[in-house]
Amino acid sequence: MNNFIQLIKNEQMKMYSQTATWVMLIILAVLVVGIGVFFKVDGMLMEDSGEPSENWEEQLQAENEQLQQEIDKEPGFSGMNEETIAMNQYRLDHEIPPDDYDAWNFVQENRSNISLISLLTIIVAASIIANEFKWGTIKLLLIRPISRTKILAAKYVSVLVYAITMLLFLYVLSFITGSLLFGFASINEPYLFMKDGEVQEAPIFQHTASQYLLSSVNLVMMATFAFMISTVFRNSALAIGVAIFLMMSGNTIVGFFANQEWAKYILFANTDLNQFFTGTPMISGLTLGFSITVLIAYLIIFLGLAWVFFTKRDVTNA
């Protein structure tokens, strides 16, 4: 165990000694701050987010009445409106004023940047083994009294550590940027959401953190896939290309085969765990438990293939 930690320290040292790693971090930072500044400027121009109004209760009641009228007119499209009415009523009942755009909203907004982190993690996962072969350093790495399995595991864990680092960086940076630009918000701010037709309340911190984690499922799966491809073919470009292509076209693939009975076994039908908490699954018959089982099965296959090829194959001319 002790030397496993040493191995991970080694991988992290190599990672952060490369300029590319820092460039990735800077790209993400520029994007977060840039979006923040853009929102701020854009918001000021539109001038719609003023101070929290004194008479928010009257406003909410007025909104609810208006929505109720719309429902009466067009009963077919009532779902969204009913939810809004229920939430507004909840605020009125529990005296929670609607919050303005603040740091937490900005954190939620930045969840879309997880796809960028996926991209970066795929690049890291695809290079971490292939580069050792490219540099020729794999030979010096494997002639130590450490099993190949352990070296492979250290590299995989390092990829996950990288992903977690980037996610934390995004989360914290977007909270700081949001606080500076849109005003600080308490960690205990309540977040309202609908579940099973009822309004629920949760601390916003918990909500955003779990949102980030759920959105990272696809990231982990595609990074593991890239890791496997690059270990099998020892070629990072191929691994990056295939993984990014699949990541982009995942939903299309599921949509295309949605009517097939085996569609629910497709990896991408199961990567969006958010669908079980908010909204309905893309494919009928999916449950959270089923999806998690499928995901674990894919992980085992990917890592198993990587292991077989990494430990069994000869290291010839790199």
Binding site: N2, N3, N10, T19, K139, L140, R144, P145, D314
Partner: protein, 306 residues
């Protein structure tokens, strides 16, 4: 020459049904510098990769201090320090960070040991620079430093003088000799350059097409009693040739103003004396050391790589 550090037993490698290494059997003693000689493609690197566990053995085994590389890799490999082919390091890290990296992979290597090894290879002034700024010679030194970190009892160096300038080659050679004699480290050096091996090694194994075709100690090869080629520069040349023919009782040829004949080493003083007695001016006598090279070429032959 006491205990045997490494033993190869019927080592074979077959790649896609084609035998590459056809059963190697030999052992290497502590304090010995063993030269692994053969033309390109003979199987030197494949053998070395199998010794270091980078390639699987199709048959047979390698034992390092009694531990099987095949079955007990960790135990066996911890006695080995190696450079396989070029000393490839992480170019974006400093020399020191590279060493720290490998030091972390073996328990018990202290910071002091790293400093010690750095000093040993004479890199102390440049160790904090990035490896990408190193010359090939410096990388080679860093490679050796890396291989010595854990005080191995056997050092495997694949083409250690590849790409080094003459002074670098000389330094490495002296260094390898010192390691062997002072620390009792067994050293395996592979090369296809014969003259280099003669100066460095105690024993040379010649491999051709995956088979060990000859094994001889360097001193044997240069036996005193063997006849050697001698080059003589003298004036007047015709008179000298006549005297020589009598003296060596053999053929004397001229080539580029030099006389060439063969003689035993012990005969040389008397030959020179005779020449002097005939008032011949001698400008130079050179004894060729090509015996081993001739042997090598005879053994290797013109045969192409199978």
């Amino acid at each position: 020459m006491s205990e045997s550090i490494m033993e190869l037993k019927n080592l074979k490698k077959t790649i896609k049904g084609k035998p590459i290494i056809k059963g190697l059997n030999f052992s290497i003693q502590s304090g010995e510098v063993f030269g692994f000689l053969g033309p390109n493609g003979a199987g030197k690197t494949t053998t070395i990769r199998m010794m270091a566990g980078l390639m699987r053995m199709s048959e047979g085994d390698v034992y390092i201090q009694g531990h099987s590389v095949k079955k007990n890799f960790k135990e066996a490999i911890q006695h080995v320090g190696a450079i396989v082919e070029n000393p490839e390091m992480y170019p974006f890290m400093s020399g020191r960070k590279n060493l720290v990296h490998y030091a972390r992979m073996v328990p018990g290597i202290t910071k002091e040991r790293i400093d010690e090894v750095v000093q040993l290879v004479g890199l102390e002034n440049r160790i904090n620079e990035k490896v990408s700024k190193y010359s090939l010679g410096m990388r080679q030194r860093l490679g050796i430093a890396q291989a010595l970190l854990h005080k191995p009892s056997i050092l495997i160096l694949d083409e250690p003088t590849n790409g080094l300038d003459p002074s670098g080659i000389r330094e490495i050679r002296a260094y390898i000799r010192r390691l062997a004699s002072e620390e009792g480290v067994a050293v395996i050096v592979s090369s296809h350059i014969l003259s280099e091996m003669e100066l460095m090694c105690d024993r040379i194994g010649i491999i051709k097409n995956g088979e060990l075709i000859s094994m001889q100690s360097v001193n044997d090869a240069l036996e005193e009693t063997d006849k050697k080629e001698v080059f003589l520069e003298a004036e007047p040349i015709n008179e000298a040739q006549g005297v020589l023919k009598e003296a060596v009782n053999g053929k004397v040829t001229t080539q580029g103003g030099q006389l060439i004949f063969t003689a035993k080493r012990e005969e040389l003083p008397s030959i020179v004396q005779k020449l002097v007695e005939h008032n011949i001016n001698i400008y130079g006598v050179t004894v060729s050391r090509s015996t081993l090279e001739d042997k090598f070429l005879n053994l290797i032959g013109e045969g192409a790589i199978e």
